[in-house]
């Protein structure tokens, strides 16, 4: 290896390490603050590692807000959104990609319209629908706008279009009907697309704040994102407790990410390249 190569590599690593430090520092600080007492957290100069580790903030936050309920609500929200995305999007996507029915391209415009328009334009009427159905403060209300997913339909359609036609033709010769072609032949082949869509949908539902704030004012029915906003509203300045709450809120998804890193990264990369 040449000297210039080595120095180049050192430069690259240095930049990346400094970058990583900036990316991770807020999370480290979040944790370090969450194990400090209020007084220690406000000392100047700041105490980096507290002499006495205090777990009480976690207990206090857990008791102040129904965190277990937040978890359940978030899990249900994510689960239903993902289930709807996988089933309904894949069905529609298969049909749009593989069946030549009259009016197909015209109908597909509806999907494209939804894709291009910012979600804020739907929120007030969607809220009025929720009010009319008397669904305010329910999990149903949280899930509602995600039942249909234009992005998912678009993504999977691209995916189905990229699969070779021969596989399906073999199925037709075997006498499969459309449903069997879709469910037994195409779906297993679209696994990576479905994983990508699931991850994208899950992250999106997990992070969404505006819609939960609009439809679920009752604290028992909030997901983590809105619950955390509520925590801040109540205890604006007790940062050790706010940070403990934040740790509660971010940990599940980060753990999931560490376990399924490859799928997460590939999934996100797919959503980029398929567009």
């Amino acid at each position: 290896m040449k000297n210039s190569d080595i120095s180049e590599k050192i430069t690259i690593h240095t930049i990346l390490i400094v970058g990583s430090f900036i990316m991770v520092l807020p999370f480290i600080w979040m944790f370090l603050t969450s194990i400090k007492s209020l007084a220690v957290s406000m000392q100047i100069p700041p105490v980096i590692f507290p002499k006495e580790i205090i777990w009480k903030n976690y207990v206090d936050v857990w008791n102040k807000l129904p965190f277990s309920q937040f978890y359940i609500n978030t899990i249900l929200l994510v689960l239903f959104r993902v289930l709807f995305a996988i089933t309904l999007c894949s069905m529609a996507a298969y049909s749009f990609a593989r069946i030549k029915f009259p009016g197909r391209d015209l109908i597909f415009m509806i999907v494209l319209i939804q894709l291009m328009i910012p979600s804020q334009l739907f929120i007030i009427p969607q809220y009025l629908i929720v009010v009319k159905l008397a669904w305010l403060n329910t999990i149903k209300a949280l899930v509602l706008p995600g039942i249909v997913n234009a992005f998912g339909t678009f993504l999977l359609r691209q995916f189905f279009l990229s699969l070779p036609a021969e596989l399906e033709e073999a199925g037709i010769l075997d006498g499969c009907n459309r449903w069997q072609l879709y469910w037994k032949i195409m779906m297993p082949l679209a696994k990576s697309g479905l994983v990508a869509l699931s991850i994208f949908t899950a992250i999106y539902a997990w992070k969404d704040l505006l819609w939960p704030l609009v439809v679920n004012m009752s604290i028992e029915k909030m997901p983590l994102s809105a619950g955390l906003a509520n925590l801040q509203g109540q205890y604006t300045t007790n940062y050790p407790q706010l940070m403990a709450g934040s740790i509660f809120a971010i940990t599940p998804m980060i753990i999931l990410f560490f376990f399924f890193q490859k799928q997460f990264i590939q999934g996100i990369a797919t959503t980029g390249s398929k567009n």
């Binding site: 990316m23 807020p26 009259p102 939804q114 804020q120």
Partner: protein
């Protein structure tokens, strides 16, 4: 058919009824196929009509109405839109949103491209970096906003302490109207770097190695390779990243809601269109004006997208 007939097959006589039968059968098959087609798109399309297309029409209509309480909408024509021109708060909000976007999009795109290029080199432990940069993408924005608010705290924040070591008097990042928008840009860029980087990295990996090898034989320098090969080849992906970052920047809400909040003196200088939309629609409960703001936001997004599409021809290379 012609081939069959020309062969003088025994079945010649019966060809015509059989053909008819066959075409009928074909037609039936087609009809069944169509039925499957419609059946499979039905849930999605019905859902989109109810949850998106109808709401879209309704929002357009509501923007022409005055709403008081639930249900009772009074048609007032373009009054909401006319009101906009005299609404200083709204005009400031448009400026804030555009300013935030114009600051954050280039920074975010350039930084994530640099990161992606560095990660695309032949170095060890790439995956560790990739993972670390990606963590903010999977973290709840509410939590991210709170920890940054804490880091940027004027009195006890870590950032101002670090600055004080270098004898710099740190600003009041969150409540100083001059700095609040800049602080939002920092956090916004920080939050989206990982996402953009991963997408760009995928784009970079698709560039054939032979391009670079050929350039090396011609004695091209790194910087030339970057501008003459990397940028043009990755431009479609880069364009996608520009558009998605642009869209999400114009729709910024979470960070303002969580970091700035309703009582902050800097709010008028940073609040975004979506934030104002939320306040009018669900706090002040003026859903008519809220709808008009949403339509305005859509038009601004369209303008930005159109500008991008026009510029696209100049720098995006599709194969």
């Amino acid at each position: 058919m012609n081939v069959l007939m020309a062969k003088g097959n025994k079945e010649d006589i019966s060809v015509s009824p059989q053909t008819m039968q066959r075409s009928k059968k074909n037609w039936n098959k087609k009809a069944i196929d169509y039925a499957w087609g419609y059946f499979m798109i039905a849930p999605t399309i019905i859902g989109l009509l109810i949850l998106n297309i109808w709401p879209l029409i309704q929002t357009m209509y509501l923007s022409l109405c005055k709403l008081s309480g639930f249900g009772s909408a009074k048609f007032i024509g373009f009054d909401n839109y006319i009101k906009m021109f005299h609404d200083k708060e709204l005009l400031k909000t448009i400026l804030n949103t555009v300013e935030y976007t114009i600051l954050s999009v280039p920074i975010a795109v350039v930084l994530s491209l640099i990161l992606a290029v560095l990660l695309n080199t032949n170095i060890k432990y790439k995956f560790i970096y990739r993972t670390l940069y990606f963590i903010p993408v999977v973290s709840t924005p509410a939590a991210i906003a709170m920890v940054w608010k804490w880091l940027m705290n004027y009195d006890y924040g870590l950032i101002n302490y670090i600055l004080s070591i270098f004898k710099i008097d740190g600003p009041n990042w969150i409540s100083d109207p001059k700095f609040a928008l800049f602080s939002l840009v920092i956090v916004g860029v920080w939050s989206c770097l990982g996402y953009n980087m991963v997408i760009l990295l995928a784009g970079l990996q698709e560039i054939p190695k032979t391009f670079y090898e050929a350039a090396e034989i011609d004695g091209a320098k790194s910087i030339n390779k970057f501008f003459l090969i990397t940028i043009p080849m990755v431009s479609p992906t880069l364009f996608f990243v520009v558009i998605t970052t642009l869209m999400s920047s114009l729709q910024i809400f979470d960070l303002i809601f969580m970091m700035i909040g309703n009582t902050n003196p800097a709010l008028p200088n940073v609040q975004s269109l979506v934030f104002l939309f939320y306040r009018y629609s669900f706090f002040i409960s003026n859903k008519g004006y809220g709808s008009a703001i949403a339509i305005l936001l859509f038009m601004i997004i369209m303008i930005f997208t159109l500008i991008q599409l026009l510029f696209q021809k100049k720098w995006v290379h599709y194969e």
